[in-house]
């Protein structure tokens, strides 16, 4: 699958395109197919997101998973500070990244 991602313009938060909006949660990401560039251009123009780009991913039982470790770290948070990730209460969350 193709996933569109970027950083929120104001907060800098990592965000994922859901099909109609941006979410901080990778679980909400949709497959943008070949529409990623067009959506990115429109959204950048709307000043909601900074430097959006399309990545490869796969749909798994737990939801979309970016193909590259860099984007998985973006999706969760720093592996060395579980308390600062999006899932601070889940001790297994780091395994999803690696």
């Amino acid at each position: 699958m193709k996933i569109l991602t970027g950083n929120d313009l104001g907060t800098g938060d990592v965000v994922w395109w859901t099909g109609s909006d941006w979410s901080r949660h990778i679980e909400d990401a949709s497959d943008v197919g070949d529409q990623g560039e067009a959506i990115a251009q429109a959204e950048e123009g709307a000043r909601r997101v900074n430097t959006p780009y399309v990545i490869d991913g796969e749909m798994t039982e737990t939801g979309p998973r970016p193909a590259h470790i860099k984007d998985r770290i973006r999706a969760l948070g720093p592996t060395i500070r579980p308390d600062l990730t999006l899932k601070p209460a889940d001790p297994e969350a780091g395994n999803w990244v690696i």
Partner: protein, 543 residues
Amino acid sequence: MYRYDQYDQNLVDTRVEEFRDQVERRLSGALTEDQFKPLRLMNGLYLQLHAYMLRVAIPYGTLDGRQMHMLATIARKYDRGYGHFTTRQNLQYNWIKLDDAPDILADLATVEMHAIQTSGNCIRNISSDQFAGAAADEVTDPRPWAELLRQWSSFHPEFTYLPRKFKFAVIASDEDRAAMRLHDIGIQIVERDGSFGARIFAGGGMGRTPVIGKEIKDFVPVTNLLSYLEACIRVYNRHGRRDNMYKARIKILINALGVEEYVRQVEAEYAALDKQDIDPPLAEFERIAAYFAPPAFEADAPDTVDRSDPDFALWLDQNVGQHKQPGYAMATISLKPVGGIPGDASADQMDLMADLAERYSFDELRVTHAQNIVLPHVKKADLYALWQALNQAGLAEANLDLISDIIACPGLDYCSLANARSIPIAQKIAERFADAGRQRDLGELKLKISGCINACGHHHAGHIGILGVDRKGTENYQLLLGGSGAEDVSLAKITGPGFDEAGIVDAVETVTNVYLGAREQGERFVDTYRRVGMEPFKEALYG
């Protein structure tokens, strides 16, 4: 310490308001990201993996208690309660919101700090010896020279858009504690016939093409220093490549021209410069130097220390250095607890270090390029009380220059340029060698980790260096041996094929075992490597 005059303060305050307007225009859509990016970078604001990152300049690594307190306040108020001290003696915040950035810069300006020129293709923060003004082996305090360079290079109109970033380091001792020869221009202040002058090295650097700086001038008096450096950079600015960012640093130009031709052009430029337009009168240098006058040391401070507490004695031996003033010492606070994140400090720790500096070190702190903090002027009689306070806060790790005192860049946990994580490798190595006795037995061993070829973690200069690479989407780690950023400067060499995350920790242990088996009396790891060569290490690693 240097204090802003009204011109400095106006300059910084005006810049804050200029950036506030630029941020508003970006958020309103009046500026595109392409237009805004160079403006935010000029103010130290990057976009990293998880958020905006703000890099705050700490000139030559020197700050006082109120500045450290402000860094703590900003960490609490705008970030997530911590900051990261870097190999350029700066501080980085990892979780900044764009619309908070102008307020942060305004808060910094209230304590004479800023983030100007901490990014972009300009002259960056001047780095120096963390023991400046205190070390027994220095010929003079290098910081007035560094401050002179800071003032000259700040907003220098000709050098705002260089081919690439440009880094200076200034030291004033034969012992190099600032990796001086791995900077674009390194300066060693030396004494000749009763006068001080600058010995100049050019074309050093790490990154993807590591080069040791070459000496291009043996003595430049302070009254001509700026005009000589102006000539050095003008030649670079004229001929440095702008078509390929990977070949744009001055080291590439000097290698292409040859050092003799580069020096010939610098000398020709220097001869033609109107030096009166550039060089300050000696009185101005002396005005700056007066800010760095030694603090009011007690002349009769006791020169002995009670070593009866064995844990304190270990810290004393490892983390405390000889001061030029009898009765005083230089204390390094390690930011490398076993299992911790090299260079990270919480807001509470920053506040404590500020308090301790105010109480015990004439209100001065230093940031080291090895990502530790120094209290430079501690009375020996106060060392035990200082250690007790640090120990209570988990800041008394007695590991300076040992294998767990690891330099590590933020790596793939934070950095958008990184290919692999650095910090977990540092943590695992520190845990493997957690036994304090084992560390001390290994002796001085500088281990440095970078998460990509840009080498922010100085892996080329590590006795043991580790470079994280991306091998088909998987983190892989190359091992390097034999580097040094000190006065015995050398570039580390790759041992061979890389290792995975577990393998690199084993590999480090393997090479330390080779060292222990081969070392001769008094040899450090790097000394043994230089004597026996790479082969025994390769044999042990790869069979």
